[in-house]
């Protein structure tokens, strides 16, 4: 997983509540065998017209928001299904940070598992950040995870909360797997002890293994 330290980027405003996982990535794209490649279908229903052409009114189809790495939106972002395709689609589009007054629980957790920083801030602040975002590439936001603050284009800054453990994981670029692998010695020790004391435990070995 890529580290998340400081992100200076264009932010796209999405002033809507309850943007659900089906909007983020419609169900028909879930039969995929990959987690990469979902970005082109992120927000597909709003992003494309029926004939497949781009809808010029949708924010992520406009410059500079095509290159947005931050989303600023309203309450209950990511509600709906528990599948991980939603954060995969955002990440593949290039989004590394989502700012909203509230998030759906599972989506919130899934973000951290995939290197995306979700930030909860009061609605008035989200609205103010959306005004900044509306200024486009002249008005990039800087998200400093170490200092837990967002620097606004006017020089002011906004502080945010984040769970200490998750902050550590993002800054170090550790996913859960990376974190667990730091306990490799304990895992290997557990396996050795088992093999010694409980040698009856069978392994699955196929004569004609593929």
């Amino acid at each position: 997983m890529d580290r998340f330290t400081t992100l200076t980027a264009v932010a796209a405003p999405m002033p809507a509540e309850n943007i659900d996982t089906d909007q983020i990535i419609p169900a028909r794209f879930l039969k995929t065998i990959q987690r990469s490649g979902l970005g082109k279908n992120a927000f597909a229903a709003q992003r494309y017209n029926d004939d497949g052409s781009e809808n010029p009114d949708f924010v992520l189809n406009r410059e500079p928001y095509r290159h947005a790495e931050i989303l600023v939106t309203l309450d209950n972002f990511g509600c709906g299904s528990s599948r991980e395709h939603a954060p995969w689609a955002l990440l593949d589009f290039g989004i590394r940070c989502v700012i909203a007054p509230s998030f759906a629980d599972i989506f919130f957790n899934n973000c951290f598992k995939n290197g995306i920083l979700p930030i909860r801030l009061p609605r008035e602040i989200c609205e103010a950040l959306m005004e900044d975002a509306a200024l486009g590439s002249n008005a990039r936001l800087t998200v400093d995870l170490q200092a837990q603050c967002i620097h606004r284009p006017d020089g002011s800054s906004v502080a945010f909360e984040v769970d200490g453990f998750r902050k550590h994981m993002l800054i170090e670029g550790l996913d859960d797997i990376g974190q667990t692998l730091q306990h490799e010695t304990a895992i290997a020790g557990f396996e050795r002890k088992r093999a010694l004391e409980e040698s009856w435990r069978p392994n699955i070995v196929m004569e004609d293994a593929s």
């Binding site: 065998i33 990469s36 599948r83 667990t180 895992i187 396996e191 069978p202 392994n203 699955i204 593929s210």
Partner: protein, 466 residues
């Protein structure tokens, strides 16, 4: 301190306890199928990680496979791609794999116990919620998401917090014609689909001890439908007799050593459960569902509920909506309701014992006019065993389709689907809207009840047919 079966399995698998109480839990068996594994393999490849224990991992294809002629290529391109992708991945990472056209192929939750891969005291995971089935062996078995599939691949562990302990005691003996499926439907009907939330559910009592392994698997399979993280039944002589001689089970001396360990796992007499539920087996009827949630259960002599009978207006609206979807009238008797399809199969009820109990009803009778009835064995071995006993001929002579192993009409992901409005007596585990195909109407019931409905053309009390 006195411990439950769950506590003992848990304690034996804790590699490390982290400061916040999360445990690194060792996983003994990782089962893979074609739908939830591709992104995990991709993740492994992208991060340059290896699969830690190919010898604790096993793969099979089931969800997407057609259950018709196996010599034909798979028509649906997306299904074919998922299957081919699994085959590429298992070859690349050296995972033991049961090929589509081998006798070993079948539904992952039928194959695991059948091959002696799922054993008592183990931790078993799979990217599939019905992994709870393997709890019948006395194993802690649960479904996981794709990130966790990758986590197990790379580390052979999961980060978990312990669940709460729940015990469901079913005392006494069930009456004739009442099966494990009816017991489980009665349990879900009683505690609801959220009844087991946050708990691991241990089944106990005389009625459970009396069940064969197939019945125990039916019970644990549907513990997830009651909201539990997993279901569990203490391993006993029935379990050991089932395991002995199976392909990947310990043999000879090792088997004796294993049994000695497995005998220590049962819940201590004075262990305390967070939640206890009791049922009287004698009061359980042959049952089925009327609505679109597994908790909407009635006995075969029952009537469809009336929305007006619910004081909570939200529940009343929900019941009305379910009746509309299911095409049922409030207050109508469920017996006599006509069906279009009978489906005998799925990881809930596709083992040889299930097929025997359906065949006992089908023998010498014929599927009613206008009804499509299908029997889908849970694995190639179940199919072969049934054919050796002549069950296939009983079914075919009675007008049932005799098909190849797979998930089939349990979910609308392969060619076996209900069409809109069709009513199905189904031995599967989920009656959600559209689960068996868009607009399909599912009534969950036992194999004997489904067979009885198939030959009668409508739901009937199976007790009148034996």
């Amino acid at each position: 301190m006195a411990r439950t079966l769950f506590d003992k399995i848990w304690d034996d698998h804790v590699v490390e306890r982290l400061p916040d109480g999360t445990c690194i839990l060792y996983i003994d068996r990782h089962l893979l199928h074609e739908v939830t594994s591709p992104q995990a393999f991709e993740g492994l490849r992208m991060s340059g990680r290896r699969l830690r224990r190919p010898d604790a991992t096993v793969a099979v294809v089931d969800h997407n496979v057609p259950t018709s002629d196996r010599s034909l290529p798979i028509e649906e391109p997306e299904s074919r791609l998922q299957i081919e992708t699994l085959e590429k991945n298992v070859a690349e990472f050296g995972v033991p794999y049961f090929r589509l056209r081998s006798k070993d192929q079948g539904i992952v939750h039928v194959v695991g116990p059948e091959q002696g891969i799922s054993l008592p005291g183990m931790t078993i995971v799979c990217g599939d919620s019905h992994t709870s089935t393997h709890g019948a062996m006395g194993a802690l078995a649960f479904g996981i998401g794709t990130s966790e599939v990758e986590h197990v691949m790379a580390t052979q562990t999961l980060l978990q917090k312990p669940a709460r302990n729940m015990r469901i005691t079913v005392s006494g003996q069930v009456g004739p014609g009442v099966t494990a499926k009816d017991i489980m439907l009665a349990i879900i009907g009683k505690i609801g689909t959220a009844g087991g939330t946050g708990h691991v559910m241990e089944f106990a009592g005389d009625a459970i001890r009396a069940l064969d392994m197939a019945g125990r698997m039916t019970l644990c399979n549907m513990s997830i439908e009651a909201g539990a993280r997993a279901g569990l039944i203490a391993p006993d002589e029935t379990t050991f007799a089932y395991i002995e001689g199976r392909r990947f089970a310990p043999k000879g001396d090792d088997f004796e050593k294993a049994c000695a360990y497995w005998r220590t796992l049962a819940t201590d007499d004075d262990a305390v459960f967070d939640t206890e539920v009791t049922l009287d087996a004698a009061s359980i009827q042959p049952s089925l569902t009327w609505g679109t949630s597994p908790e909407d259960v009635i006995g075969i002599d029952g009537v469809v509920p009336d929305p007006a009978g619910f004081s909570d207006p939200a529940r009343a609206r929900q019941v009305q909506r379910m009746l509309d979807y299911m095409g049922l009238e409030a207050g109508q008797k469920i017996a006599g309701t006509r069906i279009d399809v009978a489906f005998i199969g799925s990881c809930t009820n596709s083992r040889i014992e299930d097929l025997r109990s359906a065949a006992a009803i089908a023998r010498g009778r014929h599927v009613a006019p206008g009804v499509r009835a299908m029997v889908v064995p849970g694995s190639g071995h179940v199919k072969a065993a049934a054919e050796a006993e002549g069950l296939d001929r009983i079914f075919v002579e009675a007008g049932f389709e005799w098909r190849e192993a797979g998930c089939s009409m349990c979910l609308g992901m392969n060619p076996d689907r209900l069409t809109a409005g069709q009513r199905c007596a189904s031995t599967s585990n989920r009656n959600f809207e559209g689960r068996q195909g868009p607009g399909g109407r599912t009534h969950l019931c036992s194999p004997a009840m489904a067979a009885a409905a198939a030959v009668s053309g409508c739901f009937v009390d199976v007790r009148e047919m034996v």
